[in-house]
């Protein structure tokens, strides 16, 4: 019997416990951040549908959040965003709510005579009997009651004024330390009894949250797509295809290799700026077929201090720089290795030409150099001085080491000008492969050249060594004199040279000198101007390593 009683007790207890839960209140719907702090607990926990709300608990909603509390007698309270309320008592006969902040809409079921429903704010108390109303607390504590259905008793907590009966369609404000203000009419839509549809409001709220969510997801996808665009741009920078020139302008640089024939190698560097395109094309012809990787061979000289027979060498070169209309070009012909007396083989060319041409004008052969007899005979130092005046002599040389003007010994320019009438521009550009054109050039003489070298626009004589080392611009100003006209200056040609990195920072010559024989990683900008091209510019930036490897930068 005792056992039976114990079982019954347990069953009754089990039945009562859930009844105790149902006797309070619980959250129904939740949107966004809804949290509950239990009575006596210092922490907040997430509020979800069916979360019980007991006496002493505090419920709060975050920004853009909303929840509904349903009480055992059917009363419902909708907490708007950023609302906080404490449930003092959720059970009959006295339901008491402490609205701490924010706004609630309350639906109070019809109350039994002995029952009471009361909401308190920091400054006011609203007592209700079966009604629908809004109660809102500002940060100052000021509390506005708007009655939509029924009647609500409303008084200030300090007892400064009389309790007022707020009727359907009225709104009363109580400010801190003040009696209730006179009742005001509700806004027109409420006056007409058109209550905002709670379902519609929730739908509106959900719709906005949904829009925000979709916007966020779209931004996430957009990230991957725009990141792909960013990668394309980054690759251009990583490959050095975009750089800044010596004048702060952005240059796109593309360099291409072509192999027109087994023994031929072509290189083109193209520059585009906002308003112009410049390029340099370099062609190299070898005696024999070239390997795939030409960087490993030297076609211009044999191994240092070793007289070895070169099994392949350069026979012709052609370098042309142009702005699309004007051009400057140098080309060499008849290259063959010569055993030099410094125990080394070196390629000597039988002809070396320099020409300039303005757009629409005839070309002018500025220089035609041929090898000096001593150099051709193997005297490596015959014309290459290495004395104390080395720097000045090399910089101001009027002809390349080892060469002389065609016509030296006679009068330069005797056999000038070249035949410009008999050939087209295209034929002349093809001088290396066109025998007739080649013959015409081979018999034509250039001008006598007088060069001045300037560092940052100062002559060598006007510069100290420190100024030279700290300069960033090297200019060769050449005057081509026509000996047939005494005292006359025929043509000028200025070539400005800069070493710079991809961000347009110019290297001083001291910095450039530290690079030694390596020119990897720097750019070389050549700016040609000449009276022959109307003093327009041909401005080309290249990666010079290809020319270094081809031996051209030694000349």
């Amino acid at each position: 019997m005792k056992t039976v009683r114990s079982v019954l007790t347990l069953l009754i207890a089990a039945a009562v416990v859930p009844l105790k839960v149902w006797s309070g209140a619980e959250l129904r719907s939740t949107v966004g951040t809804v949290e509950v702090k239990r009575a006596g607990s210092p922490t907040w926990s997430q509020g979800r549908p069916k979360t019980a709300v007991n006496n002493g608990d505090i419920v709060r909603t975050g920004v853009g959040s909303e929840t509904e509390i349903k009480m055992n007698e059917g009363h419902k309270m909708t907490l708007r965003e950023r609302t906080s309320l404490k449930v003092d008592s959720s059970q009959s006969p006295e339901t008491k709510i402490d609205l701490l902040a924010g706004r609630v809409r309350t639906f109070v079921s019809k109350l039994k005579r002995q029952n009471k429903f009361e909401i308190k704010t920091p400054v006011a108390v609203a007592s209700i009997r079966g009604t629908v109303f809004d109660l809102e607390v500002a940060e100052s504590g000021a509390s506005r009651l708007s009655v939509l259905e029924g009647v609500v008793s409303y008084r200030d907590i300090a007892g400064l004024g009389q309790e007022v009966q707020v009727l359907k369609g009225q709104s009363v404000l109580i400010e801190p330390g003040a009696a209730p203000r006179p009742a005001e009419p509700l806004p027109q839509d409420m006056q007409q009894g058109i209550l905002p549809d709670e379902g519609a409001r929730t739908a509106e709220f959900n719709a906005k949250a949904e829009v925000q969510r979709e916007v966020g997801m779209a931004a996430f996808k957009e990230f991957f797509q725009t990141d792909a665009a960013q990668e394309m741009k980054t690759a251009q920078y990583q490959e050095g295809k975009t750089l800044i020139d010596a004048f702060g302008k952005r240059v796109r640089l593309e360099e291409y290799i072509a192999r027109p024939a087994a023994n031929q190698y072509s290189f083109v560097a193209l520059n585009t700026r906002e308003d112009r395109t410049d390029f340099t094309r370099f062609d190299l012809y070898a005696q024999n077929a070239l390997p795939e990787n030409i960087s490993s061979i030297n076609l211009f000289s044999g191994a240092t201090n070793e007289l070895t027979n070169q099994n392949n060498w350069v026979t012709k070169t052609h370098r042309l720089s142009s702005n699309g209309g004007d051009y400057y070009r140098e080309w060499q012909d008849g290259g063959s290795p010569v055993n030099m007396n410094d125990n080394k083989q070196r390629v000597v060319f039988s002809h070396w030409y320099v020409e300039a041409k303005g757009q629409g004008a005839a070309p002018t052969l500025l220089s035609h150099w041929v090898p000096d007899a001593a150099y051709l005979g193997g005297n490596a130092s015959a014309t290459k001085t290495r004395d104390d005046a080395e720097l000045q002599s090399i910089l101001t040389q009027n002809i390349p080491s080892g060469y002389k003007n065609l016509g030296d010994g006679g009068t330069i320019g005797d056999v000038r000008p070249i035949d410009t009438a008999g050939f087209t521009d295209a034929q002349r550009l093809d001088a290396l492969d066109n025998a007739a054109v080649n013959a015409s050039y081979a018999s034509s003489e250039g001008f006598a050249r007088n060069s001045t070298v300037r560092f940052d626009d100062r002559t060598i004589a006007a510069s100290t060594l420190a100024q030279i080392l700290n300069s960033t611009k090297l200019s060769r100003v050449s005057v081509y004199d026509d000996p047939a006209v005494a005292g006359a200056v025929n043509h000028t040609l200025t070539v400005d040279q800069y070493y710079l990195n991809d961000e347009g920072d110019k290297l001083t010559f001291a910095q450039a000198a530290k690079l030694g024989s390596s020119v990897e990683g720097i750019n070389f900008e050549n700016v040609f101007t000449s009276s022959l091209i109307g003093n327009r510019k041909i401005d080309v930036v290249i990666s010079p390593s290809i020319f270094k490897k081809a031996g051209l930068l030694d000349n």
Partner: protein, 407 residues
């Protein structure tokens, strides 16, 4: 596929999703986001200061219970850049404008599923140097995209998404200089519109609720990218007739957990902590030929990248929020060789580490209006020593202060 074709596809998809009854009531749910910031970016020892701002307006419409239409229009301007964009490039970018238009349809299918389709257009204009003006930047681009998505929402699996997207990127002012080279008699054919490509992205995303306080998110993206006119380079520096094709893979996982509230100087502090993990890989059939150094670099673009980092968000008294995140990402190129400082190639392959720290602070001033501050610092370290064309070792940072409005 042309932009016109894309527009037709998008229109057809959206029409198919629209409600059968034209009389469905239209309800508006407009969304507006506007941000204005002033700030400064620092890359190594250089600084750039200026304003940034953007606005996005989505006048969303709801037709009945099951169909929503979200048109969108966005505008943006930036003078100061984010650390992510500063990577490697010094301060070439000076100003940037973005303009975007979009239209998205969302249709409820049953209780749990949603079908979505969208079409969007985005234009980005970039001024990089003193001699450029709006509209003629080399790296200006247009992006046109269409896509569909199926999403299932629920309680434990809060979201499960399957997406298929197509987009085309065009750089209208950028083409290779091959045509000019051909005019010089040199036959090279690297292609002309070498940066333009189109992509098909397939993706799966999921958010899973773990208990009452934790959320696990995952995302998988596979992208196939076909270049419109970028020929594949051969070992001798010449080009094949085939166009480049890439495959990109991205996989990420994120975990968020709400920690117990604690007190700091009497202020209730709420915490949300998390960790992110990601993996990305690019596989390209393109190579690189360094004409300046006559060096062929096979599989130059292929890489894999791993990212890892924690984050925490703190909220004080429901108002002041503080976000902290850190990310370490390591990118390893499969075959791209390391170069010494003078540019000579070595046999090692490039590996780069990037550390990024971000701090955000936000405080609501008025309803929908917040004041926000952002700070980011990024440090990169690499075994690549050749930095004449691109910085691999650098330190960059930025900070912004401004207002954010969301309606």
């Amino acid at each position: 596929m042309t932009n016109r074709s894309l527009s037709k596809i998008a229109a057809a998809l959206l029409a198919a999703m629209a409600p059968a009854s034209a009389s469905a009531e239209v309800k508006w749910a407009p969304y507006l986001s506007a941000e204005v910031y002033a700030g400064s970016s620092k890359f190594d020892s250089e600084n750039v200061s200026g304003p940034n701002g953007n606005v996005l307006f989505v006048p969303a419409m709801r037709f009945g219970e099951n169909f929503s239409l979200l048109p969108s229009i966005g505008l943006g301007y930036r003078k100061s850049r984010d650390v992510q964009e500063l990577a490697g490039g010094g301060f070439l970018t000076q100003e940037q404008q973005t303009r975007s238009l979009g239209l998205k349809g969302v249709r409820n299918v049953g209780d749990s599923w949603k079908a979505k389709a969208y079409a969007s257009y985005r234009q980005e204009l970039i001024i990089e140097t003193k001699d450029e003006s709006w509209g003629d930047g080399d790296f200006d681009y247009d992006k046109t995209a269409v896509g569909v998505e199926a999403e299932r929402t629920g309680s434990a699996w809060r979201s499960l998404r399957f997406g298929l997207d197509y987009y085309a990127l065009a750089f209208p002012n950028f083409s290779s200089l091959a045509a000019e080279a051909r005019n010089l008699g040199i036959t090279v054919n690297p292609g002309e519109d070498v940066l333009d490509f189109s992509a098909v992205d397939a993706s799966v995303g999921a958010d899973v609720q773990l208990g009452s306080k934790s959320l696990l998110s995952g995302y998988l993206l596979a992208s196939s990218r076909d270049f419109k006119d970028q020929k594949i380079v051969k070992p001798d520096g010449t080009y094949t007739a085939d166009d480049r094709s890439d495959t990109y893979l991205y996989l990420s996982a994120g975990y968020r957990h709400q920690l117990p509230q604690w007190s700091l100087f009497g202020l209730g502090v709420e915490n949300l902590a998390g960790v992110d993990l990601s993996y990305a890989a690019l596989d390209s059939d393109q190579h690189n030929y360094d004409a300046g150094r006559t060096k062929f670099n096979e599989n130059y673009y292929d890489y894999s990248e791993i990212g890892f980092g924690p984050r925490v968000n703190l909220r004080f008294r429901e108002k002041l929020t503080l976000g902290l995140s850190y990310m370490l990402s390591t990118r390893d190129y499969a075959d791209r060789p390391v170069q010494n400082a003078d540019g000579t190639y070595t046999t090692d392959t490039i590996s780069s580490d990037v550390n990024t720290l971000r701090v955000t602070v936000s405080y609501p001033l008025l309803k929908n209006l917040s004041v926000e501050g952002r700070y980011a610092n990024q440090n990169a370290d690499s075994n690549m020593k050749f930095e004449q064309t691109y910085k691999y070792d650098y330190s960059s940072s930025n900070y912004f202060l401004g207002l954010s409005y969301q309606l």
